[in-house]
Symmetry: C2
Amino acid sequence: MVNQNEENLNEIFHALANETRRDIVRMMALNERTVSELAEPFDMSLAAISKHIKVLEKANLVERIINGRTHICRLKTESLSQATEWLNFYEKFWSKRFDLLESELMKAKRKEN
Amino acid sequence: MVNQNEENLNEIFHALANETRRDIVRMMALNERTVSELAEPFDMSLAAISKHIKVLEKANLVERIINGRTHICRLKTESLSQATEWLNFYEKFWSKRFDLLESELMKAKRKEN
DNA sequence: ATTATATTTAACTATATAGTTGAATATACA
DNA sequence: TGTATATTCAACTATATAGTTAAATATAAT
């Protein structure tokens, strides 16, 4: 059953590890967009963008609303939050350690005087 | 000159898109560790872990202090922060949009009455 | 000097990724 | 009905990734 949460994190971080896909996220953050609207700024085939969107979808970063022949893509932020949480945990952990280290140094300094 | 900042983000997110590497980050968050200490819990060759550490190093997530024949690995948080910032920006953006949407709905609701 | 320990490097394999082009599918329009 | 539009799918290529094992390097210990 391969821990689902870790698998999600793999997919989210992998999805974000590509500049084109981050650009797509940026565009969707401004407003929901159709596939061809998302593809327009890129010097790349529509099929390539279609694949990128699928990667974002697999990572649960995109919701697709099929509206006749056009697909509307909307950013889903739950996954973004999941990634943020992971990062925040370790960042906080680290800064706490750092503060601890600092206060130890202060103690040592005080003893010197 | 391929935007350096975007290249960094590629490397950071790619480094974090792997469970083994996230585990390594977790271990280093607790305390700095030698390469073999980091390798110990994994059912994987030392060479494989050596490579994973290199990926983290390339992403600027690890600082290596060579101490005789042992290498000590320490987490660097600047890169973590860089990733967090990227994520926070889009999360905030999105929740702002959402708030806006909500307040529009409220306005509409009030007009109904 | 010899041997043991810590780590990297090289060569290799299997699989995944990012892109391409051309065809297929599905819907809209005249 | 026939044609244009929006999107995906399939097949293919080139490159990257994650792992392996065996050998190389460098330092420490006897």
